[in-house]
Amino acid sequence: MLTIYTDLLCIGAGLAGERAAVEVAGAGFNVICLSLVPARRSHSVAAQGGMQAALGNAAMGEGDSPDVHFADTVKGSDWGCDQEVARLFCDTAPIEMRRLASWGVPWNRVVAGVHTYYKGGKPFEKEERKEKEGLIHARAFGGTAKWRTCYASDGTGHSVLYTMDNRAAQLGVEVHDRVEAISLIHDGGNCLGAVCRCLRTGKLVTYISKATLIATGGFGRIYRASTNAIINDGGGLIAAIETGVVPLGNMEAIQFHPTGIVPTDILVTEGCRGDGGTLLDADEYRFMPDYEPEKAELASRDVVARRMTEHMLKGKGIKSPYGDHLWLDIRHLGEKHIRTKLREVDEICQSFLGIDPVHQLIPVRPTQHYSMGGVRTNKDGAAYGLSGLFGAGEASCWDMHGFNRLGGNSLAETVVAGGIVGGRIAEFLAGCELAIRTSVVRDRQALDEERVKNLVEKSGGSENVYQVREAMFDVLQEVAFIYRNGKDLESGVERLKEILARAKNVRLRSGGVGANPELALAIKLPGMVKLAQCVVYGALKRTESRGSHTREDYPERNDRDWLTRTLATWREGADVPTLDYEPATPSFELPPGDRGYGGGRIIPMDNPPAGPGADKE
């Protein structure tokens, strides 16, 4: 088997992976990034809206600071986040935006003078200050007290990823694209690299590395309806949980986005509502102010997605062959605004739906969007369980998002965490020498070779890989979507146990030769089902409602018993994960309080930490 050595093996070449790679390569180490697709096609490229950072240049961002950003983030997380990490993030984000500017990101800039903007469909005026002209501008996003989201038109992810990959090329970072990591090599205490499958030839390749970073993005594609790219199936998380020693944090914390288009679930940006778009029902009535008088369409995502579902359950949805949906209305923003500031949205409507958003309503419904959970790391990005293993970006649970991340905070996290974790990896690498027992590598290679061989030679097995995946989709859509309850979750756990057994019993219908796509899915399906079980089992055990995790049978946020983070580890031979819990945050800068939106009752902590209560909005 071809074996490649490197200082840092970065599994993932999206924004988090490449930002870390750039930091480590800049410190003089050798870095290889792996990616399923050319780096620039990583899902980061699809982020439209922008990145939050408290620069405070925009008129509507005046008075902003990392402190205000911090409070928004902690409230957004429903107090589920690690507050030390959230603080680190908010303090670093402004510097990172400026750094990106110096590397070439064409951020939109402040234009002095009076401008019209829309809120709730009505026009308002604001005046941008002369002395701020030319500095990085910001737009509004849900759940924030200030306009804080830096943007490059509505291709922020695209522009930043292209800039980052340019920077990586400049520094000589190697990107091995069309390579899929399928397992981690480890000796129970140290991570030594990964076994991978080349998606050009189908051959297995071994990478041996002093440090390994998991930056494989979200795992939304374990759901049928997701805004995620179709490659986002959790490969890095699967490799981590298969070690049996690396825990995944808060897997039940899944975010649903209010506005996926029907039927393809492509996201239209929150920027639409930030700029003044409204949600309408079957009667073309604007219903959100009835539920959320203060923030209306701009309450945090979990709240808006829940209210939309609630409203559709009342029979107010529009019926379609693909199920019920609601309308997003941006017509009043006008042709100029839509064709320039919301151009990608315009294109999506025209190309995929054949409608013109300047004149027509956009069919939308909530859909899976973001995974708050992932490989649990400490604030340096070091994974629990194995030395030399790190995590960053959406694949990780660093954990600044807790049970709900704010729009614009995730793209910002990729670059902020990538920079910080990259710095820590460079420190780890300094003077690090690997001692490898060759049998550890050989045994791992043999296991993976055998898995592949059994599938290709069709020794045993009978299940159709796509049908098994459909069965998994059904369970998640039915029991682990926006509303959850104990009875359904319990049946979901049992169903997934059976589905896991089926996933291990797949028989290929094609030959499995070369870069065969059926084989690729067959290799990872058992792991995907395990991730699904982590979501469902974690959701069953968490008997409260927090952020995006909504239990009909436990509607309160329970700070007395559940101000915790779930840690899921998968022991060999088990059919459900082992769950452990740790405190959500090592310390409280902002003691638990009311978010100011979303409603709901709170069961307080027995001994609340000292300090000022959360300020009510």
Partner: protein
Amino acid sequence: MPRNLTFNIFRYNPQDPASVPHMDTFVLGETDSMTLFIALGRIREEQDPSLQFDFCCRAGVCGSCAMVINGRPGLACNTKVKDLPAEITLLPLPFFKLVGDLSVDTGTWFREMYQRVESWVHTERVFDPAQEEERMDNDTANRIYELDRCIECGCCIAACGTARMRKDFLGAAGLNRLARFLIDPRDQRTEREYFELIGNDQGIFGCMGLLACEDVCPKRLPLQDQLGFLRRKMALSVLPWKK
């Protein structure tokens, strides 16, 4: 009455010694709002799980799924079958190395392009985290963004007459990338330095002005304008009285 669609799809698996290039035919019933993304997914799942093609964002922004659709390079994910006749022929993009069936390796070509045009901001300035960012006019930012919108799908290269004849031609995507840095005030390269990168037949003087690149660009980038702009700039930059 929904149509029955006939797909003629190019097949070849270079990894399989038994495979020879040929066309396969698949028949599929048309459904509402069907795109080639939906159709190809169904063919793989229901008829032939070995069929290779690339989709990633499936939302027209990542550039993965470019292929030749009834004779014309384009993105498969945002091609609605209702805009096509009942007989649909799909071929992989020419020019790029074939991975298998409809999948081609554009990644390697584009990475070489970044090195050739040095696709990054060249500057002596050292980033100072304590300083406010350098100011920029918003119109300039917008103009850079316009040229930054290329999604590296490879359609313009696949459609290019020059690229067909010379494998080392930078193509519209490569030249557009350079134009993006040329108009960026943060990049301190001189016109002379730019000229050294592209002032030859592999670069700006290789373009025959056939316009196919702009025609097929799924992002409708103003590629011909950029080529003209570069050609004028480059011609001027070598005149003796310019520095």
